[in-house]
């Protein structure tokens, strides 16, 4: 198939960027979106044009590196699908496709479609961990965890930290990401001792990093490639109220 692409090109963080038009010819329906861009880049290199810079790593939907807003939706039109797992059969011959980077104040553009997502790492550093004594591995099932709690924790742990929730949010908020991390740890006994401190530190860090506040539009859940749900945000809010109740020990 033949496609017309409008791709955001920006040489560096401080340079102005703009949408450039490219033709993607000879694209097969079996290609992934990133493979389609590989073909386009091949063409650009042959023509002596700087290829389009985009982030990618695993290309199997688990690392969360690929990050493109395709026709106005982070990770494109397919539900629960990362860009690397999006296949060209979901587009039609002759389509125009707009490709833009994640946009939020907390995610400055590095080049073209690549943004700096270290703000998410800073959120993890602020509280997205449990402090454990290292040593021998404890026995499996030494700590009993109920099935529903384990399931909820595992569902939250599906987050791959791609940042689509931030890119989708009209407020540039990282609430869904933070809520997933808070829930994942708060549901397990190992995460309880630091639960209050964690939720306070992580929400405070969100403000510091320049993310917005959640106003419950629920765009994040719709954009999430892993189906992380906004009910985790309600859980974060409950954890926050609990922490507040005890005057932030």
């Amino acid at each position: 198939m033949d496609l017309t692409l409008y791709v955001w090109r920006q040489k560096g963080p401080e340079q102005p960027g703009r949408l450039e038009q490219y033709r993607a010819g000879n694209i097969s329906a079996e290609m992934s979106f990133l493979e389609m861009l590989d073909v386009v880049n091949d063409d650009l290199i042959r023509k002596g044009v700087e290829p389009i810079a985009f982030d990618h790593d695993c290309r199997e939907g688990i690392c969360g590196t690929c990050s493109q807003v395709i026709n106005g939706v982070p990770h494109g039109p397919e539900e629960r699908t990362t860009v690397c797992q999006l296949h060209m059969r979901h587009f039609r011959d002759g389509d125009s496709i707009y490709i833009e980077p994640w946009r939020a104040r907390a995610f400055p553009i590095i080049k073209d479609l690549i943004v700096d997502r270290s703000a998410l790492d800073h959120l993890i550093q602020a509280g997205g961990y449990v402090s454990v004594h290292t040593g021998g591995v404890p026995d499996a099932n030494a700590i009993l965890i109920s099935k529903p709690d384990a399931d909820m924790s595992m569902d939250a742990a599906e987050c791959i930290g791609c940042g689509a929730c931030v890119a989708a949010c009209p407020n540039g908020s990282a609430m869904l990401f933070t809520a997933a991390k808070v829930t994942q740890l708060a549901m397990l006994p190992q995460g309880r001792p630091e639960a209050k401190k964690r939720v306070c530190m992580m929400t405070e860090e969100m403000m510091k990093e320049g993310f917005g506040n959640c106003s419950n539009h629920y765009e994040c859940q719709a954009a999430c490639p892993k189906g992380i749900k906004v009910s985790f945000i309600a859980k974060l809010n409950r954890e926050f109220i609990k922490a507040f109740d005890s005057h932030g020990e």
């Binding site: 955001w8 707009y98 939020a104 104040r105 917005g212 765009e219 719709a222 009910s231 809010n237």
Partner: protein
């Protein structure tokens, strides 16, 4: 925001019930009763004013922070879930705020249209005739229009606000979320119908003064 919003929702629920006593001819008696318990009236006024001040202060801060966090630079952006109501909370809120000032000047302080005010006219029992005041005012098209327009803003504000406040307070889970969204919209619509029924019915001359 959620707490102040919910307290104000409680007020608008009680207020619409009070207003509807007009239809059964009980508005003057209701107003008289309220006036006879000044501590209740003043406590409500003070609490509502405090709620409003906190709500508006937080809402403006929230909106400014959020606008800064997302500079809206996408050439193409599709909203999958956000609604007109959820994206315009600050505007519907400010319309409600402006309306509140007008409404108080109109029916409470009687600065607007003083000739029709209840304090100037008494009913057969010698009570201030609130009912006649309301009916006389709403026979004017422009006044009815202002009230109905403001209630459209309230409808939109609460269509998002009610469910949003439950989520903010963490009173939510996967099963409840769709129900709360639906119930929130239904309550918002019921409140809207309740409030506009008064100017609408009076203007359409279904109730005469």
């Amino acid at each position: 925001m959620a707490v102040t919003g919910q307290v104000m929702i409680l007020f608008v629920l009680i207020h619409v019930l009070g207003n509807s006593t007009l239809f059964v001819g009980g508005l003057n008696a209701y107003a008289e009763k309220l006036r006879s318990i000044p501590p209740l009236v003043w406590a409500t006024r003070i609490v509502m004013l405090a709620m409003l001040i906190v709500h508006v202060y937080l809402s403006i801060r929230l909106t400014l922070e959020n606008n800064r966090a997302n500079p809206e630079l996408y050439a193409v952006k599709k909203h999958l879930k956000a609604t007109f109501a959820s994206k315009n909370m600050i505007w519907t809120g400010l319309v409600i705020g402006a309306f509140l000032v007008y409404h108080l000047l109109h029916f409470t302080i009687h600065v607007i249209n003083p000739e029709m005010s209840a304090s100037m006219n008494v009913d057969a029992l010698g009570r201030p005739d609130v009912s006649a005041m309301v009916i006389a005012n709403f026979q004017t098209f422009s006044i009815s229009l202002i009230y109905i327009a403001a209630m459209i803003a309230l409808l939109l504000h609460l269509a998002h606000g009610i469910q949003s406040s439950f989520q903010t307070l963490g009173l939510n889970n996967d099963r409840m979320l769709p129900l709360i969204i639906k119930a929130g919209s239904i309550v918002a619509v019921i409140l809207f119908m309740g409030y506009i029924s008064i100017p609408a019915i009076i203007f359409l001359e279904l109730i005469k003064g």
